[in-house]
């Protein structure tokens, strides 16, 4: 069986996306557009199956481009399921649904590539596939000035980011003359890092940091999140971050040389991210800031990784496992929160005042929001709490006490704005709502929401089940 075969998941997604584009021209009625939704879901599921099928059957394959260890498979599946969830939850009444789903599929493609890729151009191309489709999703509603604004900003800054990424790669390549990550890992572990490579990795981190919206490369996040359609923002927050982290994981060997840099990114994100949210009144921006902070927590886990050992998902406190766990946890909660916002209003800007009285007019949606926000805040006994506990205990085991304390402080600050969301949701009467929001929610989306909320609840009570689930992917 040729190693071609290992490309199957990606192939399925790309073919499905192209087909979708073609079919979408025929889809004129809403019913048919729902068909498109299911088509793309099917594609995602199919490529997931393919992933499981090819997992572990090859080492490096596609001539060193992809690898398919159980770990990468697990990560890829996590990302896929997140995007699949986004496809289910994203309300697309418009005519151009086909393109939307196609773009989501492209994003999925980029993500799983990033989860599995094993060399530098792969990383670059994966990131580009992901982010270019995201540009378009951000600017999808081109009739709104906001979307155009955000789209342009995202495009330019992301371009800068990837330019740094590529330049860094160039320097690395200039140093070592190879582009395969495993080889780089071996080379970099041997002795002190030469300055050129160090600089190259530094710039590489700039690019990655931008995709992650880690401080100080976070500036774009609030504006873009606000400009983008809620579900797109959800994808940016959950899947694209997760994919970038996944792409970063093979570079764990950097911890030997660039620990200080990453630690700074991590600390700054945890503190400044939460500080930024403190008095924000626009909900999407709040979520953007919280996403920045969460990147900080995830990086904390990344810092705890032991560069010498291969990545794995053991049962106990283990950074790699903790990170994957957290990607799921955070992704679920963030997607859910954004989905609720998406149902809330047609336009982009949702202020806290728009939430007034939701607890009484739309108890179900509000309850779901409560679950998601509590999980984001990491209040016990939410699954978010368990995720944080995994991360922090991993960090603590690795001796990163100071950073862990910083993280605790950060989450204490962060609690403030999460609480504000809750208060505005439940403790203000609907009359106080300036724009008299009557949320438009289709029964379908509602059920999706409830499903994911209850998933969050269940995993909150039995976090191990989620763990088993992740590890079950093989």
């Amino acid at each position: 069986m040729s190693t071609w075969f290992n490309v199957l998941p990606e192939a399925i997604l790309s073919i499905a996306a192209t087909l979708l584009l073609i079919v979408s021209t025929l889809a004129s009625t809403p019913a048919m557009r729902d068909l498109l939704r299911w088509l793309s879901v099917f594609a995602v599921v199919a490529s997931g199956v393919a992933l499981v099928y090819v997992s572990g059957s090859f080492g490096l394959s596609a001539d060193g481009w992809l690898n398919a260890t159980s770990f990468t498979t697990a990560v890829a599946l996590v990302l896929l399921s997140l995007i699949g969830w986004a496809i289910l939850a994203s309300p697309v009444p418009g005519e151009y649904a086909g393109e939307w789903f196609a773009l989501l599929l492209f994003a999925a493609l980029g993500s799983i590539i990033l989860a599995r890729v094993a060399n530098l151009p792969g990383v670059f191309l994966g990131i580009e596939v992901l982010s270019i489709s995201l540009y378009i999703m951000v600017a999808f509603r081109y009739t709104s000035r906001n979307s155009l604004k955000g789209g342009a900003m995202y495009l330019v800054l992301a371009g800068v980011g990837s330019a740094f990424l590529v330049f860094g790669m160039a320097l690395i390549y200039a140093m070592y003359g190879t582009m395969s990550v495993p080889e780089l890992a071996v080379l970099s572990r041997s002795g002190a890092l030469p300055l050129v490579a160090a600089l190259g990795y530094g710039m590489f981190l700039v690019g990655v940091g931008f995709k992650l919206a880690a401080v100080p490369f976070h500036m774009w996040a609030p504006d873009v999140y606000e400009a983008a359609p809620a579900s797109a923002a959800g994808v940016i927050a959950s899947a694209s971050k997760g994919a970038t982290i996944a792409a970063l994981l093979p570079f764990a060997f950097l911890l030997k040389s660039h620990f200080l840099v990453i630690a700074l990114l991590c600390g700054a994100s945890m503190i400044i991210g939460n500080l930024l949210g403190l008095r924000e009144t626009r909900v999407k921006r709040i979520l953007a800031y919280s996403s920045i902070a969460h990147v900080g927590y995830i990086l904390l886990g990344f810092l705890a990784i032991n560069p010498e050992t291969p990545l794995s998902l053991p049962a106990n406190i283990n950074p790699d496992g903790a990170i994957v766990f957290y990607i799921v946890v955070y992704g679920l909660s963030a997607l859910g929160a954004f989905a609720v916002l998406g149902m809330l209003r047609g336009d982009n800007i949702v202020t806290l005042n728009d939430l007034h009285g939701l607890g009484r007019t739309q108890p179900v949606a509000a309850a779901c929001m409560l679950v998601f926000v509590v999980s984001l805040a990491g209040l016990p006994i939410s699954v978010g709490f368990w995720g944080k506990l995994y991360l922090f205990s991993a960090a603590f085991n690795a001796g990163l006490v100071k950073l862990a304390i910083l993280g605790l402080i950060g989450s204490a600050i962060g609690l403030f704005y999460y609480l504000r969301i809750i208060v505005h949701l439940f403790m203000v009467s609907p009359e106080m709502n300036p724009r008299g929001v009557v949320p438009v929610t289709s029964g379908f989306q509602k059920s999706v929401l409830v499903a994911s909320a209850s998933a969050v609840v269940i995993f909150s009570v039995f976090p191990d089940w989620l763990y088993l689930l992740i590890r079950g992917f093989k």
């Binding site: 490309v7 992809l66 590539i113 378009i136 081109y142 009739t143």
Partner: protein, 184 residues
């Protein structure tokens, strides 16, 4: 001693840098585009001296030929000629605006140069071996087919984006567009 190659290299380097600077400083988009084309030519020459004639050609054809022309079209379409050069966004940035970024750039540059020359650990091939188009093609399609696929997909996505956003050009009516592109 100055060989022909080194002469070409240095002159084209200087040309590239100066013309890029003037892109940065010019006030008229037309001129900017032309300067950029010039700097691309310079880079193409450098490619040539680095033994990548095929890429040099591509640089000229794709970058200068295609992308820049696209720029020109847009510039014409938006006809900033009607906009006076004195428009706020076309003014040449004041020196004050330059200080901060230029400073940072200087820092980055110095670190890079330091890295390149202090460590000197770069394995420099004594003689540049020219990579022919054939070798390139072979390497590309033998080892990097996945990359090619992805690149093509990227172009496809770009096309989708262009099409989607281009739609707006057709319809003057926002209201109906609104619910066409409606997505939350």
């Amino acid at each position: 001693m100055i060989t022909l190659d080194s002469a070409i290299f240095w002159t084209s380097a200087v040309v590239a840098i100066i013309s890029t600077l003037s892109v940065l400083l010019s006030r008229n988009p037309f001129h900017a585009v032309l300067y950029l084309i010039l700097s691309l030519f310079g880079v193409a020459m450098i490619f040539y001296t680095l033994g990548a004639p095929f890429l040099a050609a591509l640089e000229v054809i794709v970058y200068a030929g295609a992308i820049m022309v696209l720029f020109l079209f847009v510039v014409q379409m938006l006809s900033p000629a009607s906009v006076p050069d004195s428009a706020a966004d076309l003014k040449r940035p004041s020196v004050g605006q330059f200080i901060f970024p230029a400073g940072l750039a200087a820092v980055l540059l110095t670190t890079t140069v330091l890295a390149l020359y202090r460590s000197g650990s770069l394995a420099s091939a004594d003689d540049t071996n020219v990579v022919s188009a054939r070798e390139l093609g072979v390497a590309l399609f033998k080892n990097h087919y996945l990359g090619v696929e992805l690149a093509s997909l990227i172009l496809l996505i770009g096309m989708v984006g262009g099409m989607h956003l281009g739609r707006a050009a057709g319809s003057p009516d926002d209201a109906e567009e609104d619910e066409k592109v409606a997505v939350r």
